[in-house]
Every structure is written in structure tokens, then in C-alpha cells.
Symmetry: D3
Subunit: 243 residues, 6 copies
């Protein structure tokens, strides 16, 4: 069976070129620029020596994430959220998703009463910003914990599982991996999948914006995601020089 070609010429199960640049900015304990093709996100991981009020004295840490887009990271300039005085529902959804995904990656009981703040700021958007953010934040967080380890503040990295994310979707009836903006704005169904290095699911968020999809399509989309995430985790480990 032959498919109509993707706008980018990629095969249905092919990721965009993925580039992970560590130590992108200077001040953060972990700082990564991640590129999924033309989508570019700065992910910084900052360690603070205290926890939110609801965890005080419980001997455990916390991990939280925030997400933003520069106003002209997009094709058309968007309003600046700081100027409008509130974050959109979409922004809040995404930062909650990043936070939950990364909390599944680390052992919150193994780095003391500290908070890891992940800031994911999109400087150029071309589809898939939230999956790039999760995948890059994993690396930034890993670097931040390595900094803690180097300073002897902890005795082992609190990593439970590597975590990465990718989008899949039905474009013109074809299941494809890692949608770019032209595909994303044109697709019937968009699903973001977060998995760990055991191939288990952490988050699945699928939306049929156009036509509802059947169980067979669902199954094929999950297959694509599983393979793509395995590749992404391989790239994360390569960037970090861990195996």
C-alpha cells in the first residue's frame, strides 16, 4: 500500500531531525535547546532549596513545570501572556502535562526537600512543541540532578525511568509520526503520547478534531508512538552519554 507523500517528504514513521544541545544558557543547573526540526524549545531546570507549603517537613522533593511561547515564535504573532495578565487554558494544560510526565521520571523521595523547576520556552514553533518540551526537559532535569550529585548534595541520581514524548495523528487517513505544523493544522486526529524507557504509557491525549477514529487506527497510532519514543530516548541517552 502506498501513501500520499508527507509535506516534508518524511516516511509515515519517520521523526524530524532531532538536535539536543546541552548547556545552552549559563545560569541554570540544566539548560537544553531541543529541536524537533524547526520547532525549537529552551528547557531549563532550576533547583530551589525548598518545597511548596503542602510538602514542608515531609522529607521529599517536588518537580513542577511552566511553559511559554515567545510572542513571535509562531507564524502569526500571538499576544504576550504576561501582558494579557493570564495564561491561556492551552498553556496551563501543557504545563500540567509536562509536570506530570516528568514527575513519573524521577523519584521525588530521593533528592531532599528541594524543588526542581522546569521552564520550557518555545522560541520557534513548527508543531509538536509540547512533546519537544517533555523530551528536552528530561535531559535538562538529568543535568540539574548531575549538578546536585557533583556537589555531593545527593548520593545518587534520582532517575526512575527516562521519559520522552511524541505526537502521532491521522493525516488524510494515514497514521503518521511527529506531525509538523502543516500536518498538525490539517489533521483529523492528533494524539500526544508520553512513554518511558520500558515502553509503558505515562500519558495519552488524543483528540479527534475532524473525524472520530476507530479502534484499528488507534492501534496503529500507538504502534507508531511506541517506536518513535524508543528512538527519542536513545537520542536523550546519547546526548547525556549514558547508556
Amino acid at each position: 500500500m502506498t501513501y500520499p507523500p508527507r509535506p516534508s517528504g518524511r516516511a509515515p514513521g519517520q521523526l524530524r531531525p532531532i538536535v539536543i544541545t546541552r548547556n545552552y544558557t549559563r545560569h541554570a543547573e540544566g539548560s537544553v535547546l531541543i529541536e524537533f526540526g524547526d520547532t525549537k524549545v529552551i528547557c531549563t531546570a532550576s533547583i530551589e532549596d525548598k518545597v511548596p507549603a503542602f510538602l514542608k517537613g515531609k522529607g521529599q522533593g517536588w518537580l513542577t513545570a511552566e511553559y511559554g511561547m515567545l510572542p513571535r515564535s509562531t507564524h502569526k504573532r500571538m499576544d504576550r501572556e504576561a501582558a494579557r495578565g493570564k495564561q491561556s487554558g492551552r498553556t496551563q494544560e501543557i504545563q500540567r502535562l509536562i509536570g506530570r510526565s516528568l514527575r513519573a521520571a524521577f523519584n521525588l523521595h530521593a533528592f531532599g526537600e528541594r524543588t526542581l523547576h522546569l521552564d520550557c520556552d518555545v522560541i520557534q514553533a513548527d508543531g509538536g512543541t509540547r512533546t519537544a518540551a517533555i523530551t528536552g526537559a528530561m535531559v535538562a532535569a538529568h543535568d540539574a540532578f548531575s549538578t546536585l550529585l557533583s556537589s555531593c548534595a545527593i548520593t545518587a541520581l534520582p532517575v526512575r525511568h527516562f521519559v520522552a514524548a511524541v505526537s502521532v495523528g491521522m493525516v488524510n487517513g494515514v497514521p503518521v509520526l511527529d506531525l509538523d505544523y502543516p500536518e498538525d493544522s490539517d489533521c483529523d486526529t492528533d494524539m500526544n503520547v508520553v512513554m518511558n524507557d520500558q515502553g509503558h504509557f505515562i500519558e495519552v491525549q488524543g483528540t479527534a478534531e475532524g473525524a472520530a477514529f476507530d479502534r484499528a487506527a488507534m492501534d496503529r497510532l500507538l504502534d507508531l508512538a511506541q517506536a518513535g519514543i524508543a528512538d527519542l530516548i536513545h537520542l536523550q541517552k546519547q546526548a547525556l552519554r549514558v547508556d
Copy 2:
């Protein structure tokens, strides 16, 4: 294979008692009280004779949803969002989900330049408020469009598909349907599924708050959801006396 019993004594694939009361309040074009066991949500559908600015003059309608909880609908009193001056991220996520789900149910091009406002207000919460809200809002919206039809403002109901929603999850390793609060607060994985009367997916939102889950578990959860939603759509049609 035998399972540990559910707190409610229900079988793994058994819904809670579902009650749909139409015409619950007097002013709205559609007004439904839906009960999923002890979860009770008032869903009203209000028709306004204009559309948002971005659709003006395009000859189509719009459908939007808002969600709220009475402060003491829950076990412990929550702050009132109107008093705090903003809706939480959770509230925004849920109302965006309800809106997308119901827009998949109706043909927005078939009821003129009108807006259908769906208000889903939880008066008692015991788990599954968003799935009850979607399921009840379908009935309220149907009633509101019937009102329009009766007044000859439209010539046919703009229904594309009936839509309903249910939660599924892994509780102590067992896949179960329609989690109540004790199960919800205890589960490893929680997935909300929205489907239509063709058995196709509209939304899938799964979160592994505890342990990540494998593909086999995913498959069993989707099976449970599919069966539960078929039952819910049957109950919606019964309440509306349509077949």
C-alpha cells in the same frame, strides 16, 4: 480469574446507577440533572442569537462549554473560583474537553449564527464529574435544539452523532469502568474516554499517576470504555425517547 472486590461491590465492567432528569430547571432551553451514582451535575444548554467575533458573518454556529463545582460539592470545601478571581487549570482543561466533545456531536453549520452555551455545574462530586458532564450535556443540548426546532428556527435537529463519556482505570492492577471517588483517589491510572454512537473515539485522555501501564492494559481499558459508552448512549436515547 477472580478480582478483589470494588469498594462499591460493582463488577469491573459495571456502571454506577445512571439517572437522567430532563427539565430540571425552568429557564434554560435544555436543562438536565445527570447522576452517575453520587456524582450529580446540572447541565444546562442556552441558545444565544449571536456568534463570537471570529465567526461573525460566516453563516455557522458555535458551541462552547463552561464547568464549575459548588464549593462544597466535594468532601472538603474548595475555594470558590469566582472569589479567587480565576479558574484553575483543571477547570479550564475540563471545560475545553466538554466543548470539543460536544462540537463533535453536532453540525455547527446547521443551526445558523447562534451559540449554544453548555454550563455543567457539579452539585455533588463522587468521581467522574467530567464524564457525567459530557454525557448530560449531550441530552441538554439535544433538548435545546428541539426547542429551536419547535419554534421553527431550524428545520432539522443538527445532530451528527450521540456522544458520551466514561472513565476507566487500573485499580490495584485490575481494569475497571466508571471509577467512583474512592477508586479514583487510589488508582494507578485514570483514563477518560469520549466516543460516539458509531463506537469511534473522540477523545482519549489517560494519565498514569502511579505506575506506568503497558499496552495490554491499555487494550483492556479501551474495551471497557467502549462497552460502557454504548450503554450510556442507550440511556441518553431512552431519556430523550429517540431510538
Copy 3:
């Protein structure tokens, strides 16, 4: 002297049918649905084991109230206050009124360092929502304190006086009791009166939206209110089975 008939057919001094349903929802320490004809308000009373900062360590309790309307409780859908990000001046006025009225009903020094939160949420509005809210909140608060008493947290109910409220107004020159929406939107003068079981005044708030009114009218309105409130307090006590 004969009067023009009221839209509802009631006599000038006649209340609407009053229904008080206790234990309306499950989680709150006190939960009441109160109906003044077609006006329906859920009043819940929640006990929290702490007081606001300004009372900490003073050995006394606090009582506070919040008020809201479901967006489609009214003839025309109103904006949701949580979505607009602030409570209207009207809402704040009403919840301040409810709070002051109920603080006059209970002895704040007789239930420890606790806060009683009263939430009055209108699910259907047909005039007189604030007076129904006060009258219902009295019963919900009484139930909440009975719960405290049953759990031996206090040794006696901290009730000073029963308190109830009713509206009176000049409609087409005739003083009438307990205005419903058609009368309310048409009247020259609207006065809300809160009194206790000794027949003493706690609050009087009269507004001549149309024509100013003279002292004689004022006197007749106060007479009507006094009689109506005596009836309402009788109904509260009946519902609570106290004398």
C-alpha cells in the same frame, strides 16, 4: 379598598410556597435546598477547624458567607463570574449581607476557633434570592452546629436567635410581601428586611428605583415584613423540629 391582583394571584401579605429540604447534598455538615416558589437556592454550611488570621488565638469562631448564581439560573444567561475573573458588586453586596445577618444569629464565642462557611448558590432564580439564601442558610448553619454537637466538639448549640429575611415592595402603589421576578422587575421600591425571632431588625435595605416613597409607605412595608418573617421563622423551626 381593593388592590389590583398580583401576577401570581397572591394576597398582598402572602408568601410564596416555602419548601425547606434538609440534607440536600451529602458532604456538607449542613445542606439545605430552600425554595421560595420558583426561586431555589442550595445553602451549605461547612465547618473548618481554623479562623482567619485576624482572629487567631482569640478563642472565638468566625462565620462567613459566599453567594453565587448558576449562569442559567436566570431568564437570560449571565456570564459566569469565575470566567470573568471577578465577582460583581451585586454579588459582593449580597454575600456581605448574608454574612452580617447570620453572624447576628449565632454566638461566635461559643464554638471554638472554627470558621463556618456558608455557600448560597442559586440554581433557579425568580426574585428574592438573597432573602431565600439568608433563610435557608440559617437552617444549614443550625444543622452544621448540630453535627458539631453530636461529635461532642461543642457542648451546646451556639444559637442566639433564629434569623430570616424577606423582601417587601411597592408594586403599582401597593405594598406587597415576597416579590417574585415579575413584581421585582416592575416595582418602584424594593426593600429587603432581616429580622430575628424577637421581631427585632438586623438589616433593612430599601431602594426606591422608581418613585421615592413616603413615611406611611415605609411603615406599611415594615409591617408586612415583620409578619412574613415571623412565618418564615416558624417554618425554619418546623423543618428543624425545634420549637
Copy 4:
């Protein structure tokens, strides 16, 4: 019968010294400094040549009021509302009261599609700021309309009735007129009354913060208010040199 003396030495029915200074600031169409003893309020009336959206094209005018206190107008410095980012419930109640009271004074159909903005800013507070504000705003509004008349924009002053306001209250069991701060913070009952030059009521807002009060007290308080307001209207007319 003898009464305990008032802190100020005034007789129970005696107003504080009232001073009305017109043309207090330069830019406003009407600008008044009103003093009720040590309470000093700047009332300005500004005319704008348009009406709010809900009145556009209806050929009538509008009148609206805002109220504020300088942060150190009070004994203890209060937070600045502009800095806190919202007006308190008390502020909103007061400005709604001022607006309703003054709308009863003027014929909104007799000054074209214009808005009269009344700004009442307390520069020194010693009790009774809202009643001073209403009384002073009447004079400022009168001056603003006289400006319109001089410029031939209208052909007659749109005055229906002069309106003034005063507080009355029970202090140590004694009904007194025009409470100053020491009395206000100590009283059982505080009632603000707004009346017109026919001796008719426009607003009555009584609150029993301490002990509820009986009908006899109510009657005596209304008597005091009626006499005090007649005096205030006399002073307004004197200041404006109208009879």
C-alpha cells in the same frame, strides 16, 4: 429625659458643622469640597459626551459614581485599592449607593446622550463619608449641569429633586444623628438614609452590628434622619444660591 453626652458634645439631633466649598478644583465641570465636621470629601462632576453601550441611541443620558479613600485619610493607613488591583466590597457598595441616589435626583432624559461621572474621594475620614459624598455630589452635579446650561447644550437644568443623605444610629441606647468616627465604631446600629426635598425616602440601609433594634427605635431613627436631611438640603440650596 437626659441622655449621656455625645463625645463631641452635640445634642442627639444635631449635625456636625457642614461646609460646602464650590469650585474646589479647576478642571471639573463641578467640583465641591464637602465637610461634615472632620470628614472631608472632594466631589467632582465630569460630563462626557457619550453614554455606555447599553444606552447608545436611546436619546437619554446616564449618571454614574465612583468612590475612593486616600490611603491615609483614615486613622490607620489602608492599602491603596489601585495597588491591590481591586476595589473592596465596601467601596463597590458605596459607589453603587451614590449612583442610585443621584440618579433619583436628575431626569436622565433631559440632558442628551451624555454621561455625568461623579467622583467622590475622601481626603479625611471621621465617619459618614458616604453620606457626605452623596450630599456633596448633589451640589457638584448641579454645578456641572449649570455649566452645560451656560454653554446652551441644554435648555433647562434636569433637576427633579434635591437629594441629601445622613447617618443615624443607636449609640449606647440613644438614637443620634450624623455619627462621627468615635460613635460609628462604637454603635449598635448604623443606618444611612437618603431622602429628597419632598421628605420621601430614596434609600434606607440599616445594619445592627451589635444588638438588633426594635420598631420603636426604627421609628425614632427615621424621624432624626428626616429632620437632618431637611437641614442638609437647605444648606445645599444656600451654597448654590437657589431656593
Copy 5:
């Protein structure tokens, strides 16, 4: 060389009539009405017996300023910032400027853990409100510290330097001192200068709204400011009867 006359008839280096009225309102520890011609600002200084969190326990004091304009202090009514729910960028800039300027006047380590709040509220504006505010706030703060001294809370006035401010600008190519509103709205360049009694600079804020200005103009403007501020500090000391 002759210049075109200023609208007010003043010489280029001539201040407007300056009037400093101490004890303008009753409650504040320091309260000054300052007039720069038709610009009138109430400056109050309030002492609070605590410091902000970031200074707690450090044994030093704090000084902070807020600025506001009555809505009709200006030629055209402005929106009330408290009603709009936020302070404009201009307001924030000005109050930050006042705070920095006055912190340079006093020794924050010499009045204990106290906060001095300066409130500068413009009741009539005719250009130069921020410079009048700084100049008046100096006097109000001095009075507040004298109150502390009288009560023996401190043993010496914590004054380092007297501080005053004035505007200078290029109007029709001519450098002038202390611009009033007609000059201010018409000028090419406007510069606000804050200096102390040693003739040293504390703040310089120049903006070329029309034509950029050269170094020679800059030099002449600084000369004018220096002379004007010396005069203002003389008037401050005269008002306070210090030399």
C-alpha cells in the same frame, strides 16, 4: 538674546509660585499640600511599626512610595486605576522614582524596623506632578520623623540630605525651568531632575519626545535644574523652620 515669552509670562529660569502647607490632613504623621502653581499634590507620610519580609530582623527601616491621581485632577477625566484593576506603567514608574529619591534622603538604618509610607495623591494637575510630589514628600517625611522623635522612638532625625525635584525642558528651542501643562504638552524634550542639598544628582530622566537634543542643550538644562532645586530646598527648609 531674547526668547519667545512663556505662556505663563515667566522667565526661562523662573519657578512657578511654590506653596507648602504642612499638617494638611489630620491623621498622618506627616501631611503636606504642595502647590507648584496650579499643580496640587497631597503628600502624607505614615509610619508603620514593621518592615517588609525581605528586611525582617535586619535592624533597619524601609521607605516606600505610592502615587495616584484623582480621576478629574486632569483636564479630561481619566479612568480610576482602582476601578480598572491595575496601575498604569506611568504610575508605577513615578512611584518607583519617588521611592528611590526619598530613600536617598534618609538613613534607613537610623529609625528602627519601621516602614515610612509616602502617599502622593494629585488633586489638581498642571504639569510637574512627580517633581512636586518628591519635593512635598521630603517635607512630609521630615514631619513624620519629627513625630517619632517627639515620642522618643528615635533619638535623632535620620536625615542625610534634603532632596527636591524639578522638571526642565526645551520649549520651542528654549531651555526652561518647571514646565506647566501647556509647555509640557508642547515641548520637544522633558527632563526630570532630582538633586540633594549638596548639588549632587540623585536621578536624571530625560526624554526627547519630539526632536533629539544635543550636548549643549543638555548642559544648559542641567544648569537650570541645579539652580531651581537649590531654590526648592530653601523653601522646604523655610517651611520646616530648619536652616
Copy 6:
């Protein structure tokens, strides 16, 4: 005379290495990464085909600027302004400064009814972010207008003057150019100067945070700024390949 060495080893009048990278991101009409040493700011210029309401129909354009810092652009993580729900006073001051400075660079009457939005986002901060932002925004705006010119929407570039900015300050009694963070946090006086390619002043904002400074110091600081800005404008023109 010898000076104590600067932390960076630079001479007093030496700029940091300046790097201007055009076309840094893909979507904006102009996109520049500007580096003043370790300070890195993304400046994008976006053209919108409409003007704010106050300019509609006047046949002229508008130019406005916004400024932000990524939360971990700084040594210590700052709160995200979008999450806090408002921009700080500092942010507003800076974006107002950028807007005024760039409006002096271009002829607003020469590019039709369009708005140029300048977004300056700091990705790494090491002192002087606002001066880097102005200097980079000049280049981004130039590129955006070149895009308009290429598309024949305008017939000539609307450039009046090149504009650049730099900071100067007294560090340990020595006047220095282009302060980095260690100098900035340690200096007595900090002055930001904006000039054009004629050597004329557009903005001067000096603040003596520590010790006030005399006229001689002021003169030396202005000399340094003038020379530094001439160099920066040379670099801007080189980057744009204009002379």
C-alpha cells in the same frame, strides 16, 4: 592616572564583545539575536496590518515594544510574569523606554496604517539587557521594514535615524562603559543613555542607587556614552550592510 581594574579586565571605555545575528528565528519579519558579552536578547519585529484604535483612519503607523525575561535567564530563577498574572513595574518601565526610543528612529507617517511590534526577550542576562534590547530592536525593525519594501508595500525605508543604547556608571569612583552584572550590582550610579546617529540624546535615565554624583561625573559619563553609542551604531550598520 590609573584605575582599579574592571572585573572583566576591560578598559573603562571598552564595550563588551557585541554580536548581532540576523534572521535568528524564522517567522518574524525581522529577527535578531543580540549579544552584549553574556547578555543575550532575541529581538523580533512583527508587522501587523492595523493600528490601535486611537490612530485609526489617521493614515499613520504605530510602533510598540514588549520586553520579557525567561525565568532562568538570571542567576537566580525569577517568577514567570505570565504565571504571576502581571508584569512588574521594572518590565513596564523598560518596554516603555524601548518603545519611545525606537519611535524616535522611524518616521511613523511613512509606512501606512500598520503596527510594528517589537518583542525583546532576554534568554541570558548579564547586565545591560535594556540597552542590548534597544540596540538589537533597531536592527530587527530595519529588517522588518526591508521586508515591507521588498513586497512593495512601501516605497522607501521609513528610517529617520539609527538609534542605539548603552549603560554607563560610576564603579568604585571610576566612570565606566557598558556595565556587566558584577559591576551593575556593585555600582553607585547607573545611567542608561539612548542616542541617535547624529550624536543627539533621545533618553537619559540615571539613578544614584548608592552615592549621589556631581556634575563633573555626569559630564564624564555622558562622554563615555557618546563614544560607545557611536561604536554600536557602526556595528548595527555593518550587520545590516548599510553605510
